[in-house]
């Protein structure tokens, strides 16, 4: 059976070129980079080299990079680390309704424990936050702002540089170093420019598993001068911000994956955009189908659609049986019955949100795969609609 993996936003396979670079660091150059002997030095050199390479990619200093276990830890460190290091009496944080749970959950936790006041900004129907809303939300006591670079579910790309400039202007006018600006770039790292100077970010989260790098490795850029506390204490690795023996193969792999992704992104983006648009075009020919997210300001590999009158999970299972692997934002498998918070935040009805499906393309995706999906999906949608007692009037779901 044909096998078409269209869930690259969930995770990507490891690039063989990355694997090759990582290979020596499992059992050959295995020593602890902190050890004061030659094998340890070899491992330390590998980490240093990877750090320098990533610094170049981000237009950052090598001492501004903190390696950790992944995107979730990077987001948590950025949020909990800066909030806890800050001694102000009232701490206010601004974020958006479409952030990843790795950002929203630590923020909600801090709100529950009374450590912060939280403003969650709405997004428009394309999933985009407004820079004006953002400026209005800033207060003298705002210590942190966190906005994701590109959304994992609907692919919408936020105006990070514009928000960054608005924050710089605010700081200048109010003669304060706050708020710090954090952005989760885990989904964006394979497709968008990562220059921290042009984006005006102070904290920037990346990981390996979405860019054909290894799982279990993440990175937080922390601009010089930003006050931050560690979450993990111990031997004082990563300038005391993340203790624990360095994941040397992971770090080497992350650097290699980032280099490849950034070097190839223009060519790959053009290729994926073409395939993405072909898929969208084919999907919306099916009656009662809507595209979720932004028509153009979206990741080149992301397609998120709602097929009305059917439930997403049923469609995922039928597609799975045809060798097509995608995701749904519907929450039927979870204990909560609420569908995706991201889709709902764009103002889509519950009915449409329950029928949403995400297809995320990647390096392995070929034009023939798109043809296969487009050939397969109408029959599945038709069968499930035939089985469904629901026949919604689209006038109410524009």
């Amino acid at each position: 059976m044909k096998s078409v993996y269209l869930d690259h936003a969930a995770t990507t396979p490891l690039d063989p070129r990355v694997l090759k670079k990582m290979q020596p660091y499992f059992s050959d150059i295995f020593a602890n980079p902190s050890s004061f002997h030659s094998p340890g030095l070899r491992a330390k050199e590998a980490v240093d080299e990877a750090r320098k390479s990533i610094a170049v990619q981000l237009n950052a200093h090598a001492d501004e990079l903190v390696f950790c276990s992944g995107g979730t830890e990077s987001d948590n460190l950025a949020i909990l680390g800066t909030i806890r290091a800050n001694r102000a009496k009232v701490k206010h944080v601004v974020t958006t309704a479409v952030e990843h749970h790795a950002v929203l959950e630590p923020l909600r936790h801090l709100e529950r424990t009374g450590e912060i006041e939280l403003t969650v900004l709405p997004v428009d129907k394309t999933g985009m936050v407004s820079v004006d809303d953002f400026e209005t939300a800033l207060r003298p006591e705002t210590v942190l702002a966190s906005v994701m670079y590109a959304n994992n579910e609907i692919g919408t790309i936020q105006p990070i540089a514009d928000i960054g400039r608005a924050i710089l202007k605010w700081r200048k006018a109010n003669k304060t170093p706050f708020p710090y600006f954090h952005s989760d770039a885990c989904q964006a790292a394979g497709a968008l420019a990562l220059d921290v100077e042009k984006l005006h970010v102070d904290l920037f989260s990346l990981n390996g598993s979405k860019i054909y790098g290894p799982k279990g490795i993440g990175l937080l850029f922390v601009r010089r001068g930003v006050g931050i506390e560690p979450l993990v204490r111990g031997g004082g690795q990563e300038r005391g911000l993340r203790s624990g023996t360095e994941n040397v193969p992971g770090i080497v792999g992350l650097a290699a994956a980032l280099e490849i992704a950034q070097a190839e992104k223009e060519k790959e983006n053009a290729r994926l955009t073409q395939l993405r648009d072909k898929l969208v075009e084919g999907f919306i020919k099916i009656p009662k189908t809507r595209l979720n997210g932004h028509p153009t300001e979206r990741l080149p590999n992301n397609v998120n659609v709602s097929f009305m009158d059917i439930e997403g999970e049923a469609a995922v299972l039928y597609l799975d049986a045809q060798g097509i692997y995608c995701s749904t934002g519907s929450a039927c498998a979870s204990s909560s019955l609420d569908p995706s918070h991201v889709i709902l935040a764009t103002g889509v009805s519950y009915e449409a949100a329950h029928g949403s499906l995400r297809f995320t393309l990647g390096r392995s995706t070929k034009p023939a795969d798109i043809d296969y999906v487009l050939k397969t999906i109408p029959g599945i949608v038709q069968k499930l609609r035939h089985m469904s007692p629901v026949n919604l009037d689209m006038r109410y779901f524009a």
Partner: protein, 218 residues
């Protein structure tokens, strides 16, 4: 404690198993039995509907009944929902029509756990998807009695009122537990039970334990 055990990226459906459901569920999902193909032929049949597409599950059930024996001769359905919802409605339609058909009295007593047993079980989080089919069936049975001049046999779905202020019943608690509210805190967030009448809380807690053991074995 996280508010949702599946937070993170969009949730994977594979559950890490070879397949998420039993072979029987899979069979009924991919080859649904008795689903309604042409409603126009069933305009006069008794019908029941529960749920809504906004909450993620909706089911519609039609039955034909022999007026002499009061046995179900035909059962058709339509379901908006996930794999388990579709499979459990399909299985239910088989159970009420096999072996000459169930009598209406017996069909009324059909419980979600009977359907679950025939399906070879469902993942715990999916059990709430299987509780709507039998409700829709009972609504259809009531409709049949209504259409056939026996209104005295109509049994409205009701339970025992636990909290006189909110009118929350044991059935409400049962459904809330099936929907994943497994602690008093979560039940209260959903049903507001006992907020103005805390005397009923010990009984509410007992019911939560009872339904948790009944459906989830924990």
């Amino acid at each position: 404690m996280p508010s949702n055990p599946n937070i993170g990226d969009i949730v994977s459906r594979s559950g890490g198993q070879s397949w998420f459901y039993s072979d029987t569920v899979k069979d009924h999902f991919f080859n649904p039995r008795n689903f309604m193909r042409d409603e126009s032929e069933y305009r006069d049949a008794a019908m029941g509907m529960v749920g809504s597409p906004a909450c993620g599950d909706a089911m519609k059930v039609w039955i034909s009944v022999d007026p002499i024996t009061e046995r179900i001769t035909d059962c058709k359905w339509k379901t908006f929902g996930c794999g388990s919802a579709i499979a459990s409605t399909s299985m239910m339609s088989v159970m009420v029509t096999e072996n000459g058909g169930m009598t209406l009295e017996a069909a009324r007593k059909l419980r979600p756990q009977d359907i679950l047993a025939r399906l070879g079980g469902l993942p715990a989080r999916k059990i709430h998807c299987s509780v709507l089919g039998d409700k829709a069936l009972r609504a259809a049975i009531n409709d049949w009695y209504r259409r056939n001049g026996q209104p005295e046999k109509i049994e409205e779905e009701q339970g025992r009122v636990i909290d006189p202020e909110t009118k929350v019943t044991d059935k409400d608690i049962e459904h809330a537990v099936l929907d994943g509210a497994d602690t008093l805190e979560k039940i209260q967030a959903k049903l507001k039970v006992g907020v103005g009448h805390p005397e009923c809380l010990p009984e509410v807690e007992q019911l939560i334990r009872f339904y948790r053991e009944k459906y989830f074995g924990a």
